[in-house]
């Protein structure tokens, strides 16, 4: 499969819509562990992205530029913890996509691996710290190894999202070590990390989006 620059923009639009729908749920998770604003923050960020998608980015067909601008827009609109995290992810992805109007399966795998690893690098969190890294690191590892073997992006991405989902779910059972919820100690057990959840939702949205594109094409 391939993704054009307009596909990429459309995917970001899908995320905009998905975040609006999940806003309340993400806030609810954050109320248990943090300050209750993760859904609001994500919504502010993706609404700002929606605006640039409908203005500055209309004629843009460089997937790299699109991804950089989307990342910077998110960062400036939200600040917060997730601003630098997701922005770094998108900007690392942008490096892979630089000057490409179309991304092939190799590019896409590289994009998402860079996305996940960039976030990990920015936040300096490890698996088990109860952050979005618990979703992103298993996801990236699985994507890398499965894609290397099969060279089937859709299939590999499916496995990777599954691994990410398991990682997300594992955050329920661990004590937080990073971010606001790290102060909770034992009381954090039982609550699922909001950032791990929003990361999973984005990956899962991409999976669906990519699958629908690949069936359209074939």
């Amino acid at each position: 499969m391939e993704l054009t620059s307009s596909d990429l923009k459309e995917f970001f639009k899908v995320v905009v819509k998905m975040i609006e729908e999940q806003k309340g749920y993400l806030c609810e998770l954050d109320r248990k562990l943090g300050d209750g604003d993760h859904g609001v923050t994500m919504s502010i960020g993706w609404q700002a992205i929606n605006e640039v998608l409908e203005a500055d980015l209309i004629g843009e067909d460089d997937c790299g530029k699109i991804s950089v601008i989307v990342g910077k827009t998110f960062l400036n609109a939200v600040g917060s913890s997730v601003g630098p995290l997701y922005a770094t992810g998108l900007m690392r992805g942008a490096k892979v996509a630089k000057k490409k109007t179309v991304m092939n399966e190799d590019d896409l795998a590289a994009y998402w691996i860079a996305f996940a690893r960039g976030i990990k690098e920015r936040g300096q969190a490890e698996i088990g710290d109860k952050t979005m890294v618990d979703t992103l690191e298993p996801f990236a590892n699985e994507l890398e190894s499965k894609f290397e073997k099969s060279h089937n992006f859709i299939e590999a991405f499916g496995y990777a999202v599954k691994a990410g989902e398991e990682g997300m779910q594992s955050t329920k059972d661990i004590i937080s070590k990073k971010g606001r919820s790290s102060r909770l100690g034992g009381r954090s057990i039982g609550a699922q990390d909001p950032g791990a959840t929003s990361a999973y939702l984005i990956l899962s949205a991409f999976q669906q989006f990519a699958e629908s594109r690949s069936t359209q094409v074939s």
């Binding site: 943090g34 300050d35 209750g36 609001v40 502010i44 400036n76 600040g79 913890s81 102060r183």
Partner: protein, 334 residues
């Protein structure tokens, strides 16, 4: 939740607009970024610039502390969310007068990342020296051995106070940062929450709490504390807060401290002074001398109910800095 607001999406912008228009002799927005505010009086040439910032909803923290004797500029985030690097960088450029800029903020993952990115950009793109000092005064937020993991709460006020004075005294960037870090080392806080605040955009309470409960060690954004229990008398609460602080930092008889009893937003001054009364009694009994006291809403969490107690041990240098006059829209000291 009943707020006196317009569209919840615009609360921060409209607050800043009102603020800047109310105090035009004190503060102005930078044209490059409307979340970047600096002193209207212009930072003195050669003085270290003091930059503060963090999420909104903590007023007077943080924009209320820009003015003579405290900060030169502030980067304003969304409610309870760190500002992005952009306004931080803009303020940095505006207040650097050749001596570099000190970033003073609370120890939160978001702030650490955003201020960190801004500092890198200031260095790489603008060639401005940046020093950083983080507040980590909340003893409830991590064990003693991991003080660097603790979050910053009301004690941030003392850091702005002393570092602001140090910059005024002509200290260089390294020295200003040393003073800020020493202040943080000498400062401990512990809070209690009794009622939540409500994020304007969700209308939901920031934490859940029963009709007769309090939460000891609650964070300034409603982050859960270390213990929920039945609400107790003001004296019992003060006893608990002070004893947790004194378990964490040894203060001996004869030592001098500054005290801050900080309201979280909706707790009346009456209650704060009743808490103060007991804090003073305890310190008095132990022979600890109170050099100066601050009682009021210094760093809030919208309309959260509760308070925190902060103690800062003083040496000669810090005493002089606590005494230094300040003139900010939300805090004046003669």
């Amino acid at each position: 939740m009943k707020k006196l607001i317009n569209d919840p999406k615009n609360v921060v912008e409209e607050m800043i607009e009102g603020y800047v228009r109310a105090h035009p002799n004190y503060i102005k927005q930078l044209p490059a970024n409307d979340r970047a505010l600096v002193t209207a009086r212009e930072t003195k040439e050669g003085k270290v610039g003091i930059l503060i910032g963090g999420g909104s909803g903590h007023e007077p923290g943080f924009l209320g502390y820009v003015g003579e004797g405290m900060a030169d500029g502030v980067a304003v985030g969304n409610i309870f969310a760190s500002p992005s690097p952009d306004p931080i960088l803009e303020v940095t450029k505006a207040i650097d007068k050749g001596a570099g800029v000190a970033y003073l903020y609370g120890n939160y993952a978001g702030d650490v990342m955003n201020f960190g990115m801004a500092a890198e950009m200031a260095d790489l793109e603008e060639d401005i020296k940046v020093g950083m000092a983080l507040a980590s005064d909340d003893v409830a937020s991590a064990p003693k051995e991991e003080k660097e993991k603790r979050r910053g709460i009301a004690g941030e006020f003392f850091i702005y106070k002393t570092a602001g004075a140090a910059a005024d005294f002509g200290y260089n960037l390294e020295e200003v940062i040393r003073v800020a870090k020493k202040t943080n080392e000498n400062t401990r806080s512990m809070g209690v929450g009794v009622s939540p605040c409500y994020l304007p955009q969700t209308g939901e309470p920031s934490f859940e709490i029963g009709e007769d409960e309090m939460e000891i060690g609650l964070g300034h954004h409603g982050e859960p504390g270390i213990e929920k229990g039945k609400i107790e008398s003001a004296d019992a609460i003060a006893d608990r807060l002070v004893s947790d602080i004194l378990k964490d930092i040894e203060i001996t008889s004869g030592e001098e401290v500054a005290v801050l009893v900080n309201g979280l937003g909706s707790t009346p001054k009456m209650d704060l002074y009743i808490i103060y009364r007991r804090v003073e009694q305890i310190l008095n009994e132990k022979g600890i001398k109170i050099y100066k006291s601050y009682v009021g809403d210094y760093i809030t969490s919208l309309e959260m109910g509760g308070c925190s107690v902060t103690l800062m041990t003083l040496d000669e240098e810090l005493t002089e800095m606590i005494d230094h006059p300040v003139d900010c829209p939300m805090f004046v000291q003669k």
